[in-house]
């Protein structure tokens, strides 16, 4: 359809423009840092080679990844994905069940609101005390922080179903299974994705923080040791990497969301 093509062309243009802005910003940064010559703010011309040397100068059969990359970046990513995976596996079914029983949710509401207002970083000291440092503690911290937006948004999505659709499902006597898979879940999906976006950002925050305080490897650990060695180029390299990883993960999520919800935006655009 013509409008679809026009939309994606507009989106591609914006995307290119974004990258141009970034390039300009990097250029400005280079100029400023070179002129300033401060050890605390190395220019991109120092940071980027550092990144390459640290992580991407490995053998070709290893995807050019160095051992440093595999022993730091990979574990961190695994922790993020594992933590998110556990959160999703727990929060989505629970959220749907709770969303469909407003009575139970009424009882749990203050507890849930309280839980979500606890600053997420407090999970780290708790789990260090419980589990000692290591992957277990980090994944637990990530789960503890990311589960709330997912749970609350899923409850919200599952409890705000269109009554006319519910009546249609009853009139046609849809089985419980079909009601779940064909009505409740697709209906709640937009809000679930909203929760997922929040949880993704939180997972990165918690991954870094838990690795800063309780780990022997990982991105946060690399940052921490670079800082204690006063190795600013490495520190900044990790920082930039974090930005890139975060951007990529968000982009992947965005793509998945657009795929899963292609009916959503278009449907709500129509005036009917």
């Amino acid at each position: 359809m013509m409008t679809r093509l026009a939309l994606s062309a507009g989106r591609r243009l914006r995307w290119t423009q974004h990258w141009l802005v970034l390039a300009a910003a990097v250029g400005l940064w280079q100029l400023w840092a070179q002129q300033r010559n401060s050890p605390y703010f190395p220019p991109p011309s120092v940071i980027l080679p550092q990144m390459r040397q640290l992580w991407f100068s490995g053998p070709a059969d290893h995807l050019f990844l160095t051992p440093d990359a595999t022993s730091n970046i990979v574990p961190s990513l695994i922790r993020v994905l594992l933590g998110l995976g556990i959160s999703i596996a727990v929060a989505v079914p629970l959220g749907i069940a709770l969303g469909r029983s407003p009575a139970v949710t009424g009882f749990l509401d203050p507890l849930l609101q309280f839980a979500r207002s606890i600053p997420v970083v407090t999970a780290a000291p708790l789990f260090i005390a419980l589990f000692r440092i290591g992957t277990q503690m980090e994944v637990a911290t990530i789960v503890a922080g990311t589960i709330w937006p997912l749970l609350l948004n899923t409850i919200d999505g599952a409890s705000s179903l269109d009554p006319i659709k519910i009546e249609t499902a009853r009139a046609f006597r849809l089985s419980r299974w079909h009601r779940l898979t064909r009505l409740i879940i697709p209906s709640a999906l937009p809000k679930i994705f909203t929760g997922l976006r929040l949880s993704l950002s939180l997972s990165l925050i918690l991954m870094v923080f838990s690795e800063l305080v309780g780990s022997t490897n990982g991105i946060g650990y690399e940052m921490s040791s670079a800082s204690s060695e006063f190795n600013l180029p490495v520190f900044w390299a990790v920082l930039v990497l974090l930005g890139i990883l975060g951007y990529l993960l968000n982009a992947v999520l965005y793509a998945v969301e657009r795929l899963a919800l292609r009916w959503h935006g278009a449907a709500s655009q129509r005036a009917y």
Binding site: L108, V121, T122, P149, S227, G243
Partner: protein, 281 residues
């Protein structure tokens, strides 16, 4: 399926009763679970509750809480003073607005907690470091939301003002600012969550070196094998603090912007998560 319509007042009472019953049930369940599971894995709910109460009288904790609040207040004030005008200015110039939004797309994913160490290296430790961190972390959601709020201003209203001969500044003051105020308010509440996270996170990471703060308190308590019930108790207090600060900001919002509450739902008033700036702000 007829449902009796309860009058408004008793519906609220019912909700409160339900909530309290839920909390009581939860505590009961936690306590009975604690009877089965060893204390080293999960402390008893009663133990934690005792600690929660005792903390209220713990002078060091109170001093630390005060320091955290002080840092929070200073940081929030500076954030608003810096980010809101910046957002208004940057958001009013179309090219700059686009560039700023593009940049925040790339900068947002970098967690502010990762900058704790950098700021520590730069500024040493102490209140100055914490406040700087808070201002950095909190400025992004406020900036982003201010610009987003400006985007939502009715162009017809703007044109009307211009037609009457009002200058740029006056237009901002009379139309753009009030119109974007709800978004800015949400951004401020997001910044508040971030501020608390950064304060406690930095305090925990750098310890007492950084001066008093709840983060430092938790670090002290965590040393050695760590006093889990006490950590949990401190966490509970931090949760209350988060709720209280959010409620405080909401009250301020209601006082200053009484007109918009009707149009936004109760979901608007929930404690926003710091990452909300990254998603649906």
């Amino acid at each position: 399926m007829s449902r009796d319509l309860k009058p408004f007042g008793s519906a609220r009472v019912v909700r409160w009763a339900q909530g309290l019953a839920g909390i009581a049930a939860f505590l009961l369940a936690a306590e009975s679970l604690g009877l089965v599971i060893p204390q080293t894995v999960l402390p008893r709910a009663s133990t934690v509750l005792v600690q929660v109460v005792r903390l209220a009288g713990n002078t060091r904790f109170l001093a630390d809480a005060g320091a955290t609040l002080e840092a929070w207040a200073a940081g929030m004030l500076l954030t608003v003073l810096v980010a809101v005008p910046a957002g208004l200015v940057l958001g009013s110039l179309p090219g700059v607005r686009f560039a700023t939004r593009a940049l925040t797309e790339f900068l947002r994913p970098v967690p502010a907690v990762s900058l704790i160490l950098l700021v520590t290296l730069l500024l040493g430790s102490g209140l100055r470091m914490t406040v700087t961190l808070i201002v950095y972390g909190g400025s992004w959601p406020v900036l982003y939301n201010t610009i987003a709020g400006l985007d939502g201003v009715d162009p017809v209203a703007l044109q009307t003002m211009r037609a009457f001969g009002f200058g740029r500044l006056a237009v901002i003051r009379h139309v753009s600012l009030p119109s974007s105020a709800p978004f800015i308010a949400t951004g401020i509440r997001i910044a508040s969550s971030i501020a608390l996270i950064l304060d406690i996170g930095a305090g925990y990471l750098t310890g007492r070196l950084n001066g008093p703060g709840i983060g430092a308190f938790i670090a002290d308590v965590s040393s050695g094998t760590g006093d889990v019930p006490l950590i949990l108790a401190a966490t509970v207090w931090v949760g209350f603090l988060g709720l209280a600060l959010n409620a405080l900001l909401l009250q301020a919002e209601r006082r200053l912007l009484p007109w918009h509450r009707a149009s936004l739902g109760s979901a608007h008033e929930r404690v926003p998560l710091p990452a909300a700036a990254a998603g649906a702000a």
